[in-house]
Symmetry: D2
Subunit: 103 residues, 4 copies
Amino acid sequence: MTPSITASKDTPTRGYSATKEQLQTRLSRIEGQVRGIQRMVEDDRYCIDVITQISAVQAALDKVALGLIDDHARHCIIGGKEDEQSDRTTELMGAVGRLMRRS
Amino acid sequence: MTPSITASKDTPTRGYSATKEQLQTRLSRIEGQVRGIQRMVEDDRYCIDVITQISAVQAALDKVALGLIDDHARHCIIGGKEDEQSDRTTELMGAVGRLMRRS
Amino acid sequence: MTPSITASKDTPTRGYSATKEQLQTRLSRIEGQVRGIQRMVEDDRYCIDVITQISAVQAALDKVALGLIDDHARHCIIGGKEDEQSDRTTELMGAVGRLMRRS
Amino acid sequence: MTPSITASKDTPTRGYSATKEQLQTRLSRIEGQVRGIQRMVEDDRYCIDVITQISAVQAALDKVALGLIDDHARHCIIGGKEDEQSDRTTELMGAVGRLMRRS
């Protein structure tokens, strides 16, 4: 028994269509945060404050990545064709491992 | 406010002066990577590929943060006045903790 | 091919039955590594070497966690009942988030 | 080999002497947590609960590692001889990097 109900005839190429605009907004904000860090360096701001901002950007990127993983699990794995679910889970695990090891 | 008040003539006002240009270059590249991720989302690229790019940005940010920590240790702690070294070490540990927990 | 072959009529309470022994072996080894760290502290070993061993234990724990996530995805989500797949994905995402934030 | 050769009468041979007992207690508790995870696997507990416990052990190990880094910075770097401070900072950065990448 597969959860094929939610899958259209053509498997979607990505799982996050519902939140594409939201994703773009978040990524725009992250881009702005990175520019803010550049200005901090330009202005010779205290290194600890710069590092703190870097942590904030990483937390924001983690949130985006977790959202993508969630959508991949729901749409590409659960909603995927039976013969593709295993490969897509393998891909997902690779992505989670790279995120955890930050590599 | 930079810690320059406490710096002697020979101590730089912040740790990363020697590599300010290099830092700017790295941050520019990271900004470009974030824009690249926005384009991937715009183009409906496969979610796993987007996550992989996010990991690459995280790794690049880690590298920048490690460089800043290194400079902080060398210039602001080792090169700092004796009565400030302890506080700056406490600040450093806070920054390392936030980086490890990505918060 | 779904992982249903290994599932009993009742959905299994955990997904890693196939590798239970392997998991136990890895966890035993990790327990031994933690005892080794205690001995290093007992013997006043250089702090950097102790930290390096802690990183090794964390890498080993990450590997165990990734294996459990993989099994959860394959058995509890893909192989799960349709009405449970969503909740189990939500649980999985919570677990991945805690692992990434180390909390 | 501890860095005791370079320590003055007042500098401890390793950074964490003051809290050696506390460190041992924490590591004992972590060892117990790892045994607890082995029992969870033995008892076929739900994989998500096992992963959650692994995250708790990772957080506890992070805390021990941060304490060791703090002591290294205070005793081995700040309290070290001038010609060794640079090498010890390099060692510290290597350790922080391995912790962040969990490798």
